[in-house]
């Protein structure tokens, strides 16, 4: 009996915490479906047009798809920004896999001189915040004449060491004996990588993809620093530019930004949790 109460108690607290974390997100769909007049009225105090306080209606009185109509039918610029985001994220993920997978495999499967030092360097680089790399990357992008070109955001991200670390962790889960046996049987290094490494290290690869997607779908600082032309910006940088007076429209954009991210989150949940656990646990 006492145990039962304890379980209910623990579930209750955790559920309350989870609800508190998720609650603000409920405002997004309701805002995107809210009529502009209603929105103006309930947000009037924030817009400087009234006394008292703003309120929020989780269920709009006059639901409308007007904002989505305006966004999806009447705003061609939206598609450009949307495809900018998609293109950037896709290019970065593809590049990270092409470059990062073999690197991760090299750290996991081979012993070579300087390996520990080099791996340590990769870990430090992945833990540094972007602002530390701001000036260094600006210098190299200027030298390569890539400033104000989408490659200025894509190229440094491709060589990010974070996915290498995550995929490395996935590869280290493979038993060393399997690789030894394959080598004894005369398999080439490339063959071992493609036929043993990739299928058995699947979890780490998925984790790296999910973590990278969520990171680069949400890109703000890099395009802000390196892309001057708004036409190249991703949606995540454009969204905050919409004024609060256009809140309904902004919420519709937010829904469009959120949908792909939630989709990947739902699909890749196991991989995501596994990937985060890789970061903290010692091998």
């Amino acid at each position: 009996m006492r145990k039962k109460i304890r379980v209910w108690f623990a579930t209750g607290i955790c559920a309350a915490a989870a609800a508190l974390i998720c609650a603000p997100l409920l405002m997004i769909p309701s805002g995107s479906l809210m009529d502009s007049v209603e929105m103006r009225r309930i947000l009037a105090p924030i817009l400087g047009e009234g006394k008292g306080f703003a309120v929020w209606h989780l269920i709009p009185f006059y639901p409308t798809i007007g904002h989505f109509y305006r966004l999806l039918i009447e705003s061609p610029a939206f598609y450009q920004l949307f495809w900018n985001t998609v293109g950037m994220t896709a290019a970065i993920l593809a590049g990270q896999l092409v470059v990062g997978l073999p690197s991760a495999w090299a750290f996991a499967a081979f012993r070579f001189r300087g390996r520990d030092f080099l791996f340590g360097l990769y870990v430090v680089l992945m833990l540094l915040p972007f602002q530390v790399m701001l000036l260094p990357q600006y210098i190299v992008l200027q030298k390569l004449q890539l400033y104000n070109h989408p490659a200025a955001v894509i190229l440094p991200a491709i060589f990010s060491t974070f996915p290498v670390f995550i995929m490395y962790r996935g590869f280290t889960q493979i038993e060393g004996e399997i690789l030894e046996a394959a080598r004894l049987d005369g398999a080439g290094e490339m063959q071992i990588f493609l036929q043993i490494g990739l299928p058995l290290g699947k979890m780490g690869i998925q984790a790296a993809i999910v973590l990278s997607f969520l990171e680069y779908w949400n890109l703000v600082e890099q395009p802000m620093a390196f892309l001057e032309e708004q036409a190249m910006w991703p949606l995540s940088l454009y969204l905050p530019q919409i004024a609060v007076s256009q809140a309904g429209f902004a919420f519709a954009v937010a829904v469009m930004v959120l949908i792909p991210a939630l989709f990947v989150f739902a699909l890749g949940q196991d991989a995501l949790e596994e990937g985060i656990a890789y970061i903290g646990v010692k091998t």
Partner: protein, 284 residues
């Protein structure tokens, strides 16, 4: 010999990119922090002195430390408590996913809702006012201008907790699942109570996790600039003016000399944190 060099081909393309985009430009910045831009004359520690004597730098250092001193223990405490409660619950997977959801929410989306909630005439102040009017025993509530007073730090800390709690819960749960079950079971058979269980078994068993998660939390503080900037802009209330604002603003003003010095200082500090952490993340 040939197969050995072939192995290095796996690493080479990636390493070349890391050299080009991270390491070499970083060394270039380190070099520039000691020379005058333009004529490359050696100026010793002049740029560093200029950084340290800058009023904004001292303000940013103080603020960053305060943010860390409040944010890290709160994040660690809350996430540890939640993971201890979550351990062994049937609904655990679903609850953890819900706590992790903020990882999937782009900062720009969150900022939109935050503006409506924390404005001086926003929803939160409205709710608190209503409650204080209903209950006569409570003092009259004076609406708080969260972003333009010292409350700004509280807003930043809350958004930090919101974003990172799920992440840290997973790390604690991973640490907890590594503890041998038999020890706890044996202790229970011997009649250990919950506090003894925590004090003598779980806490010592988690000492490694305490360290790792603490260091990762510190690093997350530095990575949480995106949200702060989006909510409060380049020149926020003075309590939430952090080192990243300084770097960002010097970058926009093309003050690369001081920026080079500050980049070196900040990366040396963070390098120390990383090296401490590294002992535990080391490749086997």
């Amino acid at each position: 010999m040939r197969w050995k060099s072939k192995r290095l081909l796996f690493l080479l393309p990636g390493f070349a990119g890391v050299m080009l985009f991270y390491l070499l430009p970083f060394f270039e910045v380190a070099r520039r922090s000691f020379v005058k831009s333009g004529n490359n004359a050696f100026v010793g520690m002049d740029h560093y002195r200029a950084v340290v004597e800058n009023g904004a730098f001292m303000l940013a250092v103080r603020n960053t430390f305060l943010y860390m001193a409040v944010g890290v223990p709160l994040l660690m405490g809350i996430s540890l408590m939640l993971s201890l409660l979550l351990r062994g619950l049937l609904q655990r997977r679903r609850l953890v996913s819900a706590m992790l959801l903020p990882m999937a929410v782009p900062a720009a989306v969150m900022v939109l809702t935050l503006q409506i909630l924390i404005d001086r005439q926003g929803v939160i102040n409205g709710v608190v006012t209503k409650v204080s009017e209903q209950i006569a025993a409570l003092p009259v509530f004076d609406a708080i201008d969260y972003l333009n007073t010292e409350w700004a730090l509280a807003v930043v800390v809350c958004s930090f907790l919101w974003k990172n709690t799920g992440y840290m819960v997973i790390l604690w749960l991973a640490g907890l699942s590594a503890l041998p079950k038999e020890v706890e079971e044996a202790a229970q058979v011997d009649g250990a109570n919950r506090w003894q269980n925590w004090h003598y078994i779980i806490r010592p068993g988690l000492s490694g996790s305490f360290f790792t998660i603490g260091m990762l939390s510190v690093l997350q503080i530095f990575k949480s600039y995106r949200e702060v900037w989006m909510v409060a802009g380049s020149y926020p209330q003075e309590h939430i003016y952090f080192l990243q604002h300084l770097l960002q603003n010097w970058y926009l003003k093309l003050e690369f000399d001081r920026m080079a010095a500050l980049t070196v200082i900040l990366s040396l500090v963070l390098l120390c944190v990383c090296l401490l952490l590294q002992k535990r993340l080391e490749a086997g």
